[in-house]
């Protein structure tokens, strides 16, 4: 049963320099209790997608120009601001990338948790406080009751992110959107936070969207993965399927860009990190054809890549790709990646 269904979402930014088509036709659905990983590089539109779902895009320059976001059958894009306020923090919660700047430095964290509870539930302040303590314990903050009255600067980065998670969970949301929750943290803390998120999701039977630019992050936890590029979805499949059989050249490159920790010792030492050359296209005037063509090692002069925009098609059951050169259809030797 789908908690969230996004159909052909389009979000554009109307700026002085032109209209930036940040999100250009995204569709996906998310079932209860499952995790969807959205992967892509900076500027591909993954954060804008999340903010569009939440209705948090900055309204003057940005606007949702098309599509729908169905949460429990209700189209969030059509709701008023007041109605959205009831949903945000309550049924759909979001945590952000940098816990240091995402918490108000002049308010105690206890206040920042209880204000969420008090905004959505009709309980007393004491009850809200008690719940806040329970939440802090649940996210693994020691001496929770004492730390409730501390200010954010007294916590380490990982702890702060835990506080953010506690805030997000405070009203028992059915969907949690995590926008690059571990990017600003140390690698060892990253693993802890991801484990915590996964455990909480299972326990509360929440659906989760995990946004990241790091394939390694989704490898462990995502049931389904969606690769975004230049405002579009370029590949969509279950986690295992995507990692075992990547189809899109971009996905392959992303996987190739991971440092190898296993395998031949000499390969590890001497193997180069494969960087993807070039930059994403300018979204004010996106190419009419395949947006990845300029950086794609398989695009050729006389194929359709630079003339026809590839559509998302199902190359295998449940595995969608938007490219003219999916791996399973390539014949002959692979060309080397241009350095």
């Amino acid at each position: 049963m789908a908690v969230l269904e996004v159909n052909d979402l389009k979000t554009h930014f109307f700026t002085r320099e032109g209209v930036v088509q940040a999100v250009d036709g995204i569709s996906f659905s998310l079932e209860k209790g499952k995790t969807l990983g959205i992967v892509g590089e900076s500027g591909c539109g993954k954060s804008v997608t999340a903010l569009s779902i939440m209705g948090l895009i900055p309204k003057p320059p940005a606007r949702i120009v098309g599509g729908e976001v169905l949460f429990d059958g209700k189209d969030l894009t059509k709701l008023s601001e007041g109605e959205m306020q009831h949903i945000r923090g309550n049924e759909v919660a979001m945590i952000f990338q940098d816990p240091m700047t995402s918490l108000n430095p002049t308010l105690k964290i206890g206040t920042q948790i209880t204000e969420t509870i008090l905004a959505h539930r009709d309980v007393s302040k004491q009850e809200a406080r008690k719940r806040a303590v329970d939440l802090l314990k649940e996210v693994g903050i020691p001496r929770a009751a004492e730390r409730l009255d501390d200010y954010p600067h007294r916590f380490s980065g990982g702890m702060r992110q835990r506080v953010m998670i506690a805030i997000a969970l405070s009203c028992g949301p059915r969907l949690l959107i995590a926008d690059e929750p571990t990017t600003a943290l140390d690698v060892t803390i990253q693993a802890q936070i991801l484990d915590l998120l996964d455990a909480l999701r299972q326990e509360h039977d929440m659906a989760m969207i995990l946004i990241t630019h790091d394939m390694g992050v989704v490898a462990e936890t995502a049931d389904d993965v969606m690769i975004m590029y230049a405002g579009q979805i370029v590949e969509q499949a279950s986690g295992y399927e995507l990692f075992d059989n990547p189809e899109h050249p971009y996905t392959e490159a992303l996987l190739g860009a991971l440092p190898q920790l296993e395998g031949d010792e000499r390969e590890i030492r001497e193997g180069r990190l494969i960087a993807i050359p070039g930059r994403p296209p300018d979204l004010v005037d996106p190419p009419e054809a395949c947006r990845f063509a300029a950086r794609c090692p398989y695009a050729d002069y006389d194929d359709t890549c630079s003339t026809v925009e590839p559509q998302l098609r199902e190359v295998r059951p449940g595995h969608w790709v938007r490219t003219a050169h999916p791996a399973s259809e390539r014949s002959g030797e692979r060309e080397t990646v241009n350095a």
Binding site: M84, R88, G89, N90, F96, T106, L107, T116, I167
Partner: protein, 312 residues
């Protein structure tokens, strides 16, 4: 926190000493003995008395030491030009008036300036914003004596609404004479606050934690009223210290223009009359007030921004 306050208070002492020293030098430089130089006929016996009283017959460093001791015991000596009054009298008379002027000016600045900035930030680039910023730019650039004279001319003279000068006698007496001077004095701080708060709020609204607050589904009023406003007002509090200093010294000019018998006007007149004890006394007093005001603002800042408390 306590050590911080004590340390600040201790450091006021050298400042006061410096102030006394400077006025002392001025006195020596200009007059030496003002009594012989005035045109007024001072009978020799009284003159000798006065000289002894002022220790003018002793070497300068002793005079300085005497004066420091006097200041420490709050005895600022007699006025050199108004023979029947002591400096303390003059201050007792004039200070409450100047204080009231300053407080009212500050109130204008806070009550009009800050909300103006807040509202302008809430509707950026609107007509309201445009006019608010235009008004505050003018208030910022025009010299206060100009504004004061303008007000006297157009509001007091032409329309006859309010008298052009004077000031109520009692501290808690209020009549319409207080309006123009306090407004003229408060205009610059008002404009300054408006611009500052507007800029600060616009910047704060871009912050990540405001986005978080909205993502939590908090009602708009709370997001703005608590999260945005509290953090935006911190720079305004920081600016209060120098603004208070400006208001204090601004009273000097306003009092002259509006003929208000406060310590500012006494100070200026005393400079002209070479009445050094008054000059010294008022300067020391102003200095103390500024220091106390700065201290107060620092403490307020500590309350508002919890990050600074741990640093100290």
């Amino acid at each position: 926190m306590a050590t911080f306050i004590i340390r600040r208070i201790i450091w006021t002492i050298p400042v006061v000493l410096l102030v006394i020293f400077m006025t002392f030098v001025m006195m020596k430089q200009i007059g030496g003995n003002p009594f012989r130089k005035t045109e007024r006929n001072v009978p020799p016996a009284i003159q000798a008395n006065l000289e002894r009283k002022f220790n003018l017959d002793k070497p300068w460093y002793q005079q300085y030491a005497y004066y420091v001791k006097d200041v420490a015991t709050f005895d600022l000596g007699p006025s050199m030009s108004q023979r029947t009054r002591t400096v303390n009298d003059i201050i007792k008379d004039g200070f409450p008036k100047s204080l009231k002027l300053g407080i009212l000016a500050f109130l204008w600045a806070v009550v009009l300036g800050i909300p103006l900035g807040v509202l302008a930030a809430l509707k950026p680039n609107s007509i309201f914003d445009y006019f608010a910023m235009f008004f505050s730019t003018i208030g910022f650039a025009l010299p206060s004596f100009f504004v004061a004279t303008l007000l006297i001319y157009y509001v007091a003279l032409k329309s006859g609404l309010v008298p052009t000068n004077g000031w109520p006698q009692g501290f808690f007496q209020f009549d319409n004479r207080i309006i123009l001077p306090s407004f003229a004095l408060g205009l610059f701080p008002m404009a300054y606050f408006a611009r500052l708060v507007r800029g600060s709020m616009l910047e704060t609204m871009q912050q990540d934690y405001v986005r978080t607050a909205r993502a939590k589904g908090l009602p708009h009023k709370r997001v703005i009223g608590l999260h945005v406003l509290r953090n935006s007002l911190i720079p305004a509090v920081t600016a209060t210290a120098p603004l208070l200093g400006l208001i204090i010294t601004g009273t000097f000019i306003i009092e002259i223009i509006f003929s208000i018998p406060g310590i500012g006007r006494y100070f200026i007149n005393s400079v002209f009359n070479r009445d050094f004890s008054v000059v010294m006394g008022i300067t020391v007093l102003t200095s103390l007030i500024i220091i106390i005001a700065n201290l107060f603002v620092d403490i307020m800042y500590g309350f508002l921004d919890p990050r600074t408390r741990d640093v100290r």
